[in-house]
């Protein structure tokens, strides 16, 4: 286990953006009626978002997200020091999406901008990287935007029933601020189990690059490693499982997420999910679930536990201080 502590960096705001267009698993034409119902019951996923324009760029989702969060927080663009994109579905691989957004939105020159190639564990990895980067900056105020997410439909083979009924298009933009404080703001447990690299991967097909997924491998790797990753983190901090106000897991599917919840013996109320309405939204899933379930009134300790897991095989959990000034319901856009 790789335990890492971040200091003085807090999540200030979360905006999530989804395409307006819905697909309903109960009317998925490649399945019988009985299988449609079983699919929704067991995966927990009814609706998925899917861009109508098959050539839509991930930038078209990130751009309104960035504009919205800057407006809501009343942050000037010139106050941003770090702009990181976590995605695996950039329309072009060079230059990075972060550099493209930097140019399109006219950020100033003193900005650290690059991409992180990561999927379902990507938000937690991104949060760790950016928190450390902010702490390292030699200036009194430091701000960052982490843009996470994928247009998974761009790499979905529509006939592949392990992929199509699960994945959904979405992005999140999370605003972070570091006040130079020395108090712990997050403790991370970051792990990689590379033997699971074939559980999820992309392959070149006649129709372009498509995602391949072995559902049973993903289940086995998740259930074997995620509960241990979380309990080791809590044990390291000498915190009981009752300490976090909420557990926000990556939204894989209900079979996997419920197995993890039961393995750690958590109450259902502490583990919200956004699967029914939004499906598996890759690296946007943790911010998106927060944006649909966060209730400021229910805060007790002021700390939440987040856990991302998947493609890699990569597992990352963190206990983070959480008291954002802005968290909005998902924004639907016509795309």
């Amino acid at each position: 286990m790789a335990i890492s502590t971040t200091k003085g960096t807090l999540i200030k705001g979360i905006v999530t953006v989804v395409p307006e267009n819905l697909e309903d698993n109960l009317t998925l034409d490649v399945l019988s009626r009985t299988d449609q119902k079983a699919l929704v019951e067991h995966t927990g996923i009814r609706y998925r978002r899917r861009v109508l324009d098959a050539k839509a760029s991930i930038k078209a989702l990130f751009t309104p997200g960035i504009n919205k969060i800057l407006k809501e927080l009343d942050w000037d663009k010139s106050s941003i020091d770090v702009l990181i994109c976590v995605t695996q579905t950039a329309s072009i691989s060079i230059p990075s999406v972060a550099c493209q957004l930097h140019g399109d939105l006219n950020f100033h020159q003193d900005v650290i901008a690059y991409d992180i190639n990561s999927g379902c564990s990507g938000f937690v990895y991104g949060l760790h990287t950016v928190s450390q980067l902010l702490s390292s900056l030699d200036q009194p105020t430091r701000r960052a935007l982490i843009c996470c997410g994928d247009i998974s439909s761009a790499i979905t083979d529509d006939k592949d029933l392990s992929v199509r009924p699960i994945f959904s298009d979405a992005i999140s933009v999370v605003a972070l601020e570091n006040d130079g404080g020395i108090e712990t703001s997050g403790t991370f447990n970051l792990e990689t189990i590379g033997s699971g690299q074939n559980a999820i991967f992309t392959a070149e097909t006649a129709n372009g690059r498509k995602m391949r997924l072995d559902g049973i491998d993903v289940f086995n790797y998740s259930v074997s490693h995620v509960p241990n990753n979380i309990t080791r983190l809590l044990n390291h901090l000498s915190k009981p499982t009752t300490f976090p106000d909420l557990y926000i897991f990556h939204q894989a599917n209900l079979v996997i997420n419920e197995s993890i919840r039961k393995a750690i013996n958590l109450e259902k109320e502490k583990v919200p999910n956004s699967l029914y309405d939004f499906g598996n939204t890759a690296s946007a899933s943790i911010p998106l679930t927060l944006s649909t379930s966060w209730n400021k009134e229910a805060v007790s300790s002021g700390w939440i536990l987040i856990s991302g897991f998947g493609v890699g095989f990569s597992v990352a959990s963190a206990l983070v201080k959480f008291n954002p000034s802005c968290i909005l319901p998902p924004l639907s856009i016509d795309l």
């Binding site: 299988d35 079983a38 067991h42 559902g215 049973i216 086995n220 259930v223």
Partner: protein
């Protein structure tokens, strides 16, 4: 674990009549077998018997007896 218990469990999970299956049943020939139902079945085996069946083990298995033996090997 008794054979009959395993067959009853399997019939319930794969939505078939318990009288219609036996240890010699080739599970891929069952009407409800699909990649999704395979995942649900494997997750239920983990929950019920605390045995993890890998995708390689499943691919190498043909009959319910093969799966029964994988579970028995742990118990």
């Amino acid at each position: 674990m008794k054979e009959t218990d395993f067959l009853e469990f399997t019939a319930k999970e794969l939505l078939v009549d318990a009288n219609e299956i036996g240890l010699n049943t080739v599970f891929r020939d069952l009407p409800r077998w699909s990649s999704l139902n395979a995942l649900i079945y494997v997750s239920r085996i983990k929950e019920e018997y605390n045995v993890m069946i890998s995708s390689q083990q499943l691919a190498a298995s043909k009959s319910l007896s093969d799966l029964y033996m994988l579970i028995q090997a742990v118990h």
